[in-house]
Assembly symmetry: none
Homo-oligomer: 364 residues x 2
């Protein structure tokens, strides 16, 4: 086995999920992630954890959803019980076709997600971590050769996480002390409140309430958003390519939207529920091991010199105790490149300009 796969599993089990003896772990394996699953299972055995392995197959999901009607039972007891009794949930992405569910009607997908909100919450209450194993399908999505893509993934995952965590703490401190964020670039001028919100230093470990591997972003939960924003990074949302999304906000809500391609996908997202029209997240990408867009949100939103905003659900970790964040069945990230002609202000002070943070050389 490729030694990098073993090191990936080590980062996942030890740095990210902090698995200990006796932990009840659900390992969710995509069809192309078998090797990473084997390496992970070996470590889970070594640590004395208990293992249930599930299969995350887009083709199985498509077959099931396509044949089902729009009425789904709420929170099936067996699935709910599995996650309510789990300590950790490790999701190993990496299938054979990123468009495997492309022809499932959006309403069907939404109805299914909505009916299983309790299951999702129970899963999110565990020490969950999402990662991907590099597959040929993901390489294709990234427009890269297979070996090239493997390098890309391991550059992003096999980092010195301790030292990146220190750097990200600086950004977290700025956001925690600030009340208002303004994002300005060629066609964007957007203002968001972040008062009383706590930023999360997302350095790929549950110990920091960070659940993606790779990670490398600092995020918070904005509200009262006003202004206009354009997202110049193309994305695949619900299996469809979406480009040049623009959103106009008033009093925290989207009042206008458009896109250069597949605008209806954004319309579907916004129509999911009331919370889908509000922002759930403002994230600042700081992982410079990620040096290009690969049409995969797990990597794109962590890329150094990008900012992303998510429509929908906010994370509890950003909220004051006892205050509920924006609630929605969806959480859809949209990304904008801030490496040129851009600035990010906190309470009127520029903290990032053209991709340089204010503590970095070249900022002035």
């Amino acid at each position: 086995m490729d030694d990098r796969i073993k090191r990936h599993a080590e980062v996942l089990v030890d740095w990210s999920a902090r698995i200990e003896a006796g932990d009840d772990v659900v390992l969710a394996v995509s069809p192309g992630a078998h090797e990473l699953a084997v390496a992970t299972a070996e470590l889970l055995g070594e640590r004395g954890a208990n293992l249930v392995t599930t299969r995350s197959s887009g083709e199985i999901a498509r077959a099931y959803l396509s044949a089902h009607d729009d009425e789904f039972d709420a929170d099936p007891a067996h699935e709910l019980a599995l996650y309510e009794n789990a300590d950790a949930y490790l999701s190993l992405g990496g299938g054979h076709n990123t468009s495997a569910t492309a022809d499932v009607p959006a309403e069907r997908r939404q109805a299914h997600a909505k009916a299983r909100e309790g299951v999702r919450e129970a899963r999110m209450d565990t020490d969950w971590v999402s990662t991907v194993h590099p597959t040929r399908s993901l390489a294709q999505q990234a427009g890269m050769a297979y070996e090239e893509y493997q390098e890309f993934v391991y550059d992003a995952v096999l980092r010195d996480w301790d030292s990146l965590a220190d750097e990200m703490d600086r950004m977290k401190d700025l956001l925690d002390e600030g009340s208002e964020v303004r994002l300005v670039s060629a066609n964007t001028d957007l203002t968001m409140s972040i008062d009383e919100r706590t930023a999360v230093n997302s350095c790929a470990t549950v110990a920091y309430d960070s659940h993606n591997l790779p990670s490398g972003e600092v995020f918070t939960a904005p509200y009262g958003t006003t202004g206009h924003v354009e997202f110049d990074v193309p994305m695949t949302i619900h299996g469809k390519r979406v480009r040049d999304v623009s959103l106009t906000f008033e009093d925290g809500e989207v009042i206008e939207y458009d896109a250069g391609q597949n605008a209806d996908v954004i319309g579907d997202v916004l129509d999911t529920d009331a919370g889908a029209r509000r922002l759930g997240e403002l994230g600042i990408g700081m992982n410079r091991g990620i040096d290009r867009f690969t049409d995969n949100i797990l990597f794109d939103e962590k890329m150094g010199d990008t900012v992303h905003l998510a429509l929908g659900r906010a994370y509890d970790a950003n909220m004051p105790d006892g205050v509920a964040g924006n609630d929605s069945a969806v959480h859809v990230d949209l990304i904008t490149d801030v490496s040129e002609d851009s600035r990010l202000e906190i309470d009127g002070e520029t903290v990032q300009r053209n991709g340089r943070f204010r503590w970095e050389e070249g900022f002035e």
Copy 2:
């Protein structure tokens, strides 16, 4: 998709497991069984069942077990809760290597199984069904070409189960009314009591307490066995090839054993515990869609014109209420061909001769 896969899924979901709207189903998918999983998921969606998909991978199990020590936590809460809350468990066998766990020490495997007896019981309390998808690995084990093996599997699975169930009911009635069974062939003359035992018509549906697909056997729990029996069908037991096993019984217990190859495997089985020296099952194979031995017990023991006896554990379904059957940690099936020079008597009356049942043409 091959139409036979869809028909297999239909038999599994509708005839075997009797899935209804709202059922909480666990679908356990082996690495080579993806297509059958897709066809099954489609039907589960159509029926309005709720789906959790698990992955049954020998390689993942091997990695986990090999790295673990011999101390396993008893009945992990998440796994137990999953099955305690499930209505049905559908296991789709068919991997890429039937020897995937060959180098896991037997004690490790046993310790793991023992620690998870509660999980096994919870799974057995659901409407569980085991079937296999034909893979190249299983074709190889059967010594058959891939296409040839597919034909073989679908001949066994895609039967007119209603009509086979009717025929098997005749055999069940004969066994239920009888007190003593005698099996006679060239080197065999064995007598067993079956008084007060209830035969199970195993016609591949939970509605008849039958959990294998294919099935096609009628079985009961014999006792007081006396005489000599030879098993001319080769088997793989605990990973070793065993041929021409012979057993001599007195007062229900094995007093002598031998085999043409790997006799020590039989010795190990008999030494497991006291119950391992007694019979737990007499089964009469009646599925004539199975026309050859393939070194896979799921098929071999159901083959028409065979009889099998199992050393060890008896099934509760054969016992009168409140009476415990033969107890043992093992249940090892041994098969004999009764298509020639053989007869099966119940209370002195011949019910099967040279592979013909007494209600069939050519019996006299």
